[in-house]
Structures are given as structure tokens and as C-alpha cells.
């Protein structure tokens, strides 16, 4: 771990080379290197408190340059630093053992170093100071600094800086959620402040740096912006201008790939990583959707593992998991994807002569297209990717690579926490109020949110009965049933055909959704529409539980224009019923088509209420949520 981190911290400067283009550094670098070279190297590798700070210091350095304060500090610290070289050297010995990455780092290091050294003094010495029992004042500043650093831009990986400086936690990333949340809050506040305050910010910030604990972030932020001077500001502005334009363009969702368009399919095939053979008997009605042989990609992909070098292993792994069906469900898929992207971003380094923003965006796009080949994206994933790309596009140009990366990783974490985990909790809180003693609740398939609702209501001591309706071919309901029964809920199980027999006893229907479209249509696991329709016919309220991040501005009237097709072979064989083998010899008959739809669209008439993290809304209010959501959170 540590070696890697150090490597990365070292690789950080590379970016700085690109991103940091103030005219000043060269002179300093010239002047500084001799002095600082030694001390710099040692601290980065060493795992103990001393150098723990150093990476963060590195990352922070560009930020810290301008304020006069720091310069004064610098002197102080440089002085202090001089006291500690021996220690530093001892660590440097360790660095030598660090894995290969170090080498290329080293190679790229020298130029970066110069720049780096130029700026580093401010924060860097500070770090030193902490190690050395120096004046109390300095130590305080050190303690204050790290969090700000980690939030702002973080040298290497977020985790490193995040945890280490504060209490030398060895477990990175395991910091309590609260802590991270606090950081995020601070960050957001900082951003807001930075925007609002404008030029004033820098002075204020510089003051702030020395004082409060949470404020450093703000300070760092604003100072960074100031620091980079007019150029940065300009770029920021540009970014700001760009965004609305894009948003406007995005108002109309761009058309999806239509697979009946032969020329485009050919083009796509050329680009494709995975070679897919087309299904034998394609369903005529669904020519516009990809219909490929299932199960053929997996071995192909496995053999290609070493050839696909642009693919990050984590992304690759997730792709395979999608393909094999190990990860399913909108939230799970989305989280898995983001975790993989986080890994990929963590290991990312901008190739020379490319800008991080462009290159990373392209990289992410290639990952996404790979994932699409494994399994078409869910709408929620589409939203999440849009969010991430937006974040990348809006990264201030001035950020160093490491800062940018850590910002992105924080964003990803924030998205997972806020948009998925927290909103699930909110939905549960809302939905539980709709469950009363004696209720008979019906659910279809296996929705993670509905499951949480049911379990939570059970924990609250409500007495109710659950009807789990299931359908072929996935039989996800059985898994849900299993989990519910284990927890002691009393359940009834039946299949989707029998739903009208049982509906008259049901008092409420809880359904999950893959997405809610802006005309109120609920896009969900196939069969949901049937259940909702029967419930509607029996005058049973239908409550759809869906996180707001899954809402989409697209509209859809039927389940045919857009859908996903599963493995047709799953239809011809009935799991666990070997005696049903009528179609065994016939799958190659051209008259026979097997259609395995994955989703369907439930018209909004059947939906009584949509429970989302913004509260409980009628389906007609979906467009409002979509609009607000986009404006407030996702694309800000």
C-alpha cells in the first residue's frame, strides 16, 4: 500500500507540470531544488506521521504559494526542516525498495520536482514541523492543514491524506462516514464561498488558513483559485459558460443507438472490444435493440484480458460481473461501476501532452462502452455516468492531477453516499409510514429498497403480511422471499399469473423501479406493469419506490421502443423443471423466436404514488423532480 501511494504522490507532480503554469516556478525551481531535493524524497515514502503529511503537503503546495503568510511560514519551516534531514534520509532509504512504479515516477519526477519544490516549501515544511517538536503554533497549523488538503485536491489518493494526517489511521478510506461527510460539507461550503466571494476570498482565505479546523478547505480552495491567477479564473469562467450550453443541449436526450441501422452497427462493431455473434432468431419487433448470443462473450473476454490494456482491471472485473449476472439491480450495478471507476481514476495518470480533463473523459467513455458491451447500461447508470463526466468536464484546469483525481473520487463517494445510500434510507423512512398493522403488502421481483422497507417495518414491530410475486426467468422473488422469511416475516409466495387471484386480499403494492421517466412511466423489471395493472383493477394503491437519481427526462409510452433483451435460452428451459423440454430440439427453427424482455414500462395511471428521496409524489410530478434534481445536484 504505502509504496504505491508514495509512487502516486510522486506522480502527482507530473500533473502539476501540466496544470500549473504560473510563470514564477521556474526561477524558484532553479533556486530551490538543490535545497529541497533531499528532504522531499524521503518524506514521501515513509509511512509514519512525518511523511504522511508530506504527500498532502505536496499536493497542497501550489495552492499555498501566494499568501504572504505562508511565505513567512515557509521560512520558519524551512528552518525547521533543516533540523530533520536525518530522519528524512532514513526514510529515503526505504523508498529505494519501492516497486517499479517508482522508476517511471522518478523519470518523470525531475521536471515535476522542480516545480514541486518551488511550491512545496509552504506546506512541506509544515509537515516537518509537526514531526519536530517545534513551536505549538506550527503544529497547530499542520493539524489544520491536512484536512483541507485532502478535501481540496489531495496529492495522491484521497484516503491517504484523509486519514493519515489526522490520527495516523492505517486503514485508509475506512474513516467514518460522518467524517467524510464533514469533509464534503466543508468542501461544498468552500466552493460556494469561493464563488461568492471572488477576489476577496483570497485574503479571507489566507486568514482562515491559520485559524479554524474546517475552514482550511475553504481557504485552500479559494486560494488555489486566486493562486492560479487570471488564467485559472478565466478557465473557470469558461467552464462556467460551457456548462449551461451543454445543459441546454442536454435538455433533449440524445437518441440512443438503434441497432436496425446497419451502417452504425457496423461502425460500432469495429470499435467493439467484445466480439458478439448475433442471435440466431432475432425477434422482428426488436430489431432496433442489440440481440446477441449470450454466453459467447465471456470466454472471449477472458482470453482477451491481457490484450485489452486500456481497460482497468477493476472495470474489467465489474464488466464480467455484469455479464455473468453476479451483480444485478440498479443500485448494485451503479455502485459497482462507480467503485471500479474510482479505482481506475486512482490509478490514472495523464499521458504526456494530454490534458487530464479530456483524456480522463475519453478513458471513462471507453470504460463505459466496454460495460455496455457486457450489458446495456441501466438508466440509473446512465445518469451516474453523466454526473461523473460532468464533474470531469468541470474540473478547474488549474487543479493538479492528484487534486483532480481526489476531487473526482470524492465526488464519486459523495454520489454513492448521498444519491444512493442516503436516499434509500430516506425512502424507507417515508414508506414505512404507509405500512400499518394488518396490512397485506404485495411486492414483485426483488427490489433492494422494498426489501429495506419491509425489513425496517418489521423491525419497528409492525404486523403485516407480505406477498412476494415472482416470475420467470430470473426468479428473483425467491431470493427476496428467502431473505424475508429468514428475518421472520410471514410471507406468501406466488407467480405473476396468479396475481389476480391474490390481489383481492392485498392492501398495498410496493414496487421497485429501474427508472422513472418524466411522463410518469415507471420503467422496471418486466412484469411490474402487469402487477400494477391488476392492482389498479382491484383498486389497490400502488407505491413505487425509486431514488431520485434514477429519474430520467426521457419519455416512453411502451416497452418496445427501448428495452433490454436477456438471454433467450433462459426462456426455453424452465429452471428446476426438467420435464418441460418441449422446445429442446427446436431452438434453431427459424419460425421460433424466444423473447426474453428484461424491463417494461408501467403507465402512470397505474401508479398511485412514487416514493422518492424528495418525498412522496404523484407520478405527474416526476418532471419537476427531474428538472430540480438536474439543476440542484447532479450537474452543479
Amino acid at each position: 500500500m504505502d509504496p504505491r501511494r508514495t509512487a502516486r504522490t510522486v506522480s502527482g507532480p507530473k500533473v502539476r507540470q501540466v496544470g500549473f503554469f504560473t510563470p514564477a516556478p521556474p526561477e524558484r525551481s532553479i533556486s530551490d531544488p538543490p535545497r529541497f531535493q533531499d528532504p522531499i524524497q524521503p518524506p514521501s515514502p515513509s509511512p509514519t506521521q512525518v511523511n504522511d503529511h508530506s504527500p498532502s503537503g505536496n499536493s497542497l503546495s501550489p495552492v499555498m504559494i501566494p499568501p504572504a503568510h505562508h511565505h513567512s511560514d515557509n521560512f520558519l519551516r524551512t528552518a525547521l526542516q533543516v533540523t530533520s534531514p536525518t530522519k528524512a534520509f532514513s526514510y529515503s532509504a526505504k523508498t529505494v525498495t519501492i516497486p517499479p512504479e517508482n522508476e517511471d515516477v522518478a523519470s518523470s519526477f525531475s521536471p515535476g520536482r522542480k516545480v514541486f519544490s518551488a511550491k512545496s516549501p509552504s506546506s512541506f515544511p509544515g509537515v516537518k514541523a509537526s514531526s519536530v517538536p517545534a513551536s505549538e503554533l506550527t503544529t497547530v497549523s499542520v493539524v489544520n492543514l491536512p484536512p483541507g488538503i485532502s478535501e481540496k485536491a489531495g496529492g495522491a489518493s484521497v484516503e491517504v491524506q484523509n486519514d493519515r494526517p489526522v490520527s495516523a489511521k492505517t486503514l485508509k478510506e475506512k474513516t467514518s462516514k460522518a467524517e467524510r461527510r464533514a469533509l464534503q460539507e466543508a468542501q461544498r461550503a468552500a466552493k460556494a464561498a469561493a464563488k461568492a466571494e471572488g477576489t476577496k476570498a483570497s485574503s479571507a482565505a489566507s486568514k482562515v488558513v491559520t485559524s479554524a479546523n474546517t475552514k482550511p478547505s475553504k481557504a485552500a480552495k479559494s486560494s488555489s483559485q486566486k493562486n492560479d491567477g487570471s488564467q485559472v479564473a478565466a478557465s473557470e469562467k469558461k467552464g462556467g459558460d460551457r456548462a449551461p450550453e451543454k445543459d441546454r443541449k442536454k435538455d433533449a436526450p440524445h437518441p440512443r443507438m438503434q441497432y436496425d441501422d446497419k451502417s452504425r452497427v457496423e461502425k460500432a462493431k469495429k470499435r467493439a472490444v467484445v466480439k458478439q455473434t448475433e442471435a440466431r432468431n432475432r425477434v422482428e419487433l426488436f430489431r432496433h435493440l442489440p440481440q446477441y448470443e449470450h454466453g459467447t462473450q465471456l470466454p472471449d473476454l477472458e482470453t482477451k484480458f491481457f490484450e485489452l490494456d486500456p481497460m482497468h482491471p477493476a472495470v474489467y472485473k465489474v464488466g464480467l460481473q455484469y455479464l455473468s449476472g453476479d451483480i444485478r439491480g440498479g443500485n448494485a450495478r451503479c455502485i459497482a461501476m462507480f467503485q471500479a471507476f474510482k479505482e481506475a481514476i486512482k490509478d490514472y495518470s495523464t499521458p504526456p501532452e494530454k490534458t487530464l480533463i479530456r483524456d480522463l473523459a475519453a478513458r471513462i467513455s471507453s470504460y463505459v462502452s466496454f460495460l455496455i458491451e457486457c450489458r446495456p447500461l441501466s438508466i440509473s447508470m446512465g445518469n451516474a455516468i453523466k454526473f461523473l463526466k460532468n464533474r470531469i468536464a468541470k474540473l478547474p484546469l488549474a487543479l493538479s492531477e492528484s487534486e483532480a483525481k481526489s476531487t473526482l473520487m470524492l465526488d464519486i463517494d459523495r454520489f454513492i453516499n448521498e444519491k444512493i445510500i442516503l436516499s434509500e434510507k430516506v425512502i424507507v423512512k417515508h414508506a414505512v409510514t404507509k405500512i400499518q398493522d394488518g396490512d397485506v403488502l404485495l411486492t414483485y421481483g426483488a427490489s433492494s429498497v422494498v426489501e429495506m422497507i419491509l425489513l425496517h417495518a418489521h423491525e419497528l414491530g409492525k404486523h403485516f403480511h407480505v406477498v412476494v410475486v415472482d416470475s420467470r426467468p430470473k426468479l428473483e422473488g425467491q431470493l427476496l422471499l428467502r431473505r424475508l422469511v429468514r428475518k421472520g416475516l410471514s410471507c406468501t409466495h406466488t407467480h405473476v399469473n396468479a396475481v389476480s387471484c391474490i390481489m383481492q386480499d392485498v392492501t398495498r403494492v410496493f414496487l421497485g423501479a429501474s427508472s422513472v421517466l418524466s411522463n410518469g412511466t415507471v420503467y422496471s423489471r418486466v412484469g411490474t406493469a402487469c402487477v400494477a395493472m391488476v392492482a389498479h383493477a382491484f383498486r389497490v394503491p400502488v407505491l413505487v419506490c425509486c431514488e431520485a437519481y434514477k429519474f430520467h427526462e426521457r419519455v416512453q409510452l411502451d416497452s418496445i421502443c427501448f428495452n433490454e433483451l436477456g438471454n433467450p435460452d433462459a426462456i426455453s428451459k424452465v429452471q428446476g423443471r426438467e420435464e418441460i423440454n418441449y422446445l429442446d430440439g427446436l431452438v434453431n427453427q427459424e419460425n421460433l423466436q424466444l423473447l426474453n424482455l428484461i424491463y417494461d414500462a408501467t403507465p402512470s395511471d397505474y401508479v398511485s404514488m412514487i416514493i422518492t428521496d424528495y418525498g412522496m409524489i404523484p407520478p405527474t410530478s416526476v418532471p419537476v423532480i427531474v428538472r430540480e434534481y438536474r439543476r440542484d445536484h447532479l450537474w452543479s
Binding site: 420467470r472 406466488t494 399469473n497 389476480s500 418486466v526 395493472m533 416497452s559 427446436l586 427453427q589
Partner: protein, 417 residues
């Protein structure tokens, strides 16, 4: 009559164990059994019709009790009773006509339908007709006063007339039995050919490039579709597999081997696909007097979806499926729950299926019904072997096949059980 008894018992066993699949087979076997019962019945000199009715009822009650959900049994028993009554009546009227008014049109008596010139034998003919049918507008107009006496004559119709004419008893006794058996043979014939009769109408309902959806498997539907295919119509069929029996796979296989474009879908995809379907054609388990349908499970869902998308929902049903009863709470009372093993693997869930909660009630219930009830408002059209009918017309059709007196049959048996 030991051999009939053995036959009856054998059939009872089969019914109880649900060995006979499909209402057509059940109906046919019931009719055959009743035919042998009739042929074995020793005919008394007087009141022969009553004797026949009695013996048929006795067997019929037991058959119905053996499988109350299989409505075809009751239907056939009632049909046979109706045949007995009608044959008896026609003999009586023929005899009466021969006795009293030989000068009057004899040949017309034989036809003995609604166009009977009610001049001389008006009283008897009208009374007899109204015993057999519920009052129609014509009978009501013909003679209002006599209809009050209808129930009386109907219950003892056979015996009063039998007493009155003892002259040609011997010939009549043989003739009655013979006629009844003839008629039952015809009934059996009808039942076995109803598929063809229904299928003949296929071309009238299926047009070129039609997209048809069906659920599960029904022989009537299969033959209907194939008949249209043979007439060179080309159309596509979506087959929903029909969990938990997955008979749709069987139907799909049959259709594919006969060269029809077939797409097999899951039941849950019915709603998604129905918007692209021109017509839903399904079979039925039984058609109730109100036009409601007892159908394989899942069809209520399909019917609702069809209604939502204004897709015609067509039910194919042979006349033996017409049941003269009105459904009450049919989802429960006319349903049958099958084994949970069709839905869940016992091995996997055995720990949940037993009394796991400690309160004494199992935590897990499995509901696996066989039938669904489709209310008449969801049905667009019935196609029977006599043609297409509206759901609202069903009661009228039923009145043609059954005698009003026999409706009680079932109630007595169910109360007896």
C-alpha cells in the same frame, strides 16, 4: 348392473385423482359413461323418462362431487338429462298428435320447433315447450295462462303423459331409450368435433399479418390457428408460456412444427407485448352463464391488459364448456390449488414451509391456483361451435342446451357433501 358400477367407480377415481386433463376429454368420457349407464338402466313400464333421469342424476351427482371444479362433468350430465327430457317430450307430442289429430300436419310435429303451427295441439305443445325452455318472448306471447302450470308439468311431465298413453308402451319404451342413446351419441360426436367446428371460423377472424397472443396451451386454440394457417393466412403468434405449467412451450412447439411464426414470451412480458398485438385468442376452462370465463391462471391479467390496449379478447369454447351456473366468488370457489412444488423447490424452502415461527403458523405460504376468472366485461367475443357470441348472449345459449330443472342438480350434491 355391476359393469356400469365398475365403470362409474373407475371414472370417479380418475376424476378424484385429476387424472383426466382437459375439459374436452372429461366431457367426452362423461358422456360415454352416461350412455352406458342409460343403456344398462332397466326400463319400467311406466314413467320411463323419470327412471332414466333418476339413474343419470344418481351417477351425475357422484361424478360432480368427485371433481366439483371440473364443470364439464356437470355440464354433460345436465345435457344428458336435457336430452332425456326432450326425447321424451318429442315422443309424447308425436303420440298425442298421432292420437288426436292425425289429420293435422304430422311431419311438422317431428320437427317440433318454435315454428310449430299452434292451432289444435296448442295447449300441450306450448306447455311442453315451455317446460323445456325458459320462457322466450314467443312462448310468452303464445299462451300466457299456461306458463303458470309449467313447473308442475315439467317435474312430472313424463309420468302424467306416460300414464295417459299405455297403448303403445312397449314400442315407446324401446324407442325412448334408443332415441336417448342416439342423442347422447350425437352429443359425444359434437364434443369431439367441436374443435373443427370452431376452427372452421378461423379465417373469418384472422386476417393477413395479424399478430395474435395466447397464453398457455389449448387444443382449441391450436386447431383454430392451424386452420387459419392452412387457409394460407400468414400471421404471427406470441405465446405466453403460462406458468406454472408452461403449456405454452407445448403450444409453441406445435405451432412451430406447423410452420407458424411463433414467439415465446414470459407471462410477465404480456403487458409489454400486448400493445403490438391485434387479437388475443385463448381457450377456456368453462364459460359461466353470465358470460364470465373460468380460464387457465393468468388470463385475467391478459384480459385486463387487452382491455387497456383495446385489443379484442376472444375466447374459444366448445358448447360442452358452457355452464348454466352463475359464478359466485369464482376466484376461490371455482378454483383449485396445485402443489407448491411447481413454484418452489421443496428442498430449498423446506425449512420455511413447516411451522417455523413457533406460533404454530408457517411463515411461508405458497399459492398456486389453477384457474382465473375473467369477468364478462373483459371478453369481447366467444367463438363456440355454433358461431360467435357476445358474453351477454351466453345465458340464452345456455338455455338452449339445458333444462331449467337440472340446475338444482349441483346444489343438492354440494349440500350433500
Amino acid at each position: 348392473m355391476p359393469d356400469t358400477q365398475a365403470l362409474v367407480n373407475d371414472f370417479l377415481n380418475k376424476l378424484k385423482k385429476r387424472k383426466i386433463e382437459g375439459s374436452q376429454a372429461t366431457a367426452k368420457q362423461t358422456a360415454e359413461l352416461l350412455r352406458s349407464v342409460i343403456s344398462q338402466t332397466r326400463m319400467p313400464y311406466t314413467n320411463q323418462a323419470a327412471a332414466l333421469i333418476h339413474s343419470v342424476k344418481a351417477v351425475g351427482e357422484r361424478l360432480i362431487a368427485a371433481n366439483p371444479v371440473e364443470l364439464a362433468v356437470g355440464n354433460v350430465v345436465r345435457r344428458v338429462l336435457h336430452i332425456v327430457r326432450e326425447e321424451d317430450l318429442s315422443l309424447t307430442t308425436a303420440a298425442m298428435a298421432g292420437l288426436n289429430l292425425s289429420a293435422e300436419s304430422d311431419d311438422e310435429d317431428d320437427t317440433d320447433r318454435d315454428n310449430h303451427p299452434a292451432l289444435s295441439a296448442a295447449a300441450i305443445a306450448a306447455a311442453s315447450r315451455s317446460t323445456l325452455r325458459p320462457p322466450s318472448l314467443q312462448t310468452l306471447l303464445e299462451d300466457v295462462p299456461d306458463s303458470a302450470a309449467v313447473p308442475h308439468t315439467s317435474s312430472s311431465g313424463g309420468d302424467s303423459e306416460g300414464k295417459s298413453k299405455s297403448a303403445d308402451k312397449s314400442s315407446r319404451s324401446r324407442k325412448l331409450k334408443h332415441d336417448v342413446i342416439e342423442a347422447v351419441n350425437e352429443l359425444i360426436q359434437d364434443i369431439s368435433t367441436c374443435h373443427e367446428l370452431i376452427a372452421e371460423q378461423a379465417v373469418e377472424h384472422i386476417h393477413q399479418n395479424e399478430v395474435i397472443l395466447t397464453l398457455g396451451s389449448s387444443r382449441t386454440v391450436l386447431e383454430f390457428l392451424c386452420a387459419a394457417k392452412e387457409k394460407k393466412r400468414s400471421f404471427r403468434v406470441f405465446v405466453a408460456e403460462g406458468a406454472p405449467r408452461y403449456q405454452g412451450h407445448l403450444l409453441a412447439k406445435e405451432l412451430v412444427t406447423r410452420g407458424l411464426q411463433t414467439t415465446l414470451i414470459t407471462d410477465s412480458a404480456v403487458f409489454a407485448m400486448i400493445s403490438r398485438v391485434n387479437m388475443v385468442i385463448v381457450g377456456a376452462h368453462a364459460v359461466m352463464a353470465n358470460g364470465g370465463v373460468i380460464a387457465p391462471v393468468g388470463l385475467n391479467m391478459v384480459a385486463l391488459a387487452a382491455q387497456k390496449h383495446a385489443v379484442p379478447f376472444v375466447v374459444l369454447a366448445g358448447s360442452h364448456k358452457l355452464c348454466p351456473l352463475y359464478p359466485h366468488h369464482p376466484e376461490v370457489l371455482l378454483n383449485e390449488l396445485r402443489s407448491p412444488s411447481e413454484l418452489l423447490d421443496f428442498g430449498e424452502f423446506s425449512d420455511c414451509l413447516d411451522f417455523g415461527s413457533g406460533i404454530g403458523a408457517p411463515l411461508l405460504h405458497v399459492v398456486n391456483p389453477t384457474f382465473d376468472y375473467v369477468p364478462p366485461k373483459l371478453v369481447s367475443l366467444f367463438i363456440t361451435d355454433t358461431g360467435g357470441h357476445n358474453p351477454s348472449y351466453m345465458y340464452r345459449l345456455i338455455a338452449d342446451y339445458y333444462s331449467a330443472d337440472d340446475l338444482v342438480l349441483e346444489r343438492r350434491t354440494t349440500s350433500g357433501n
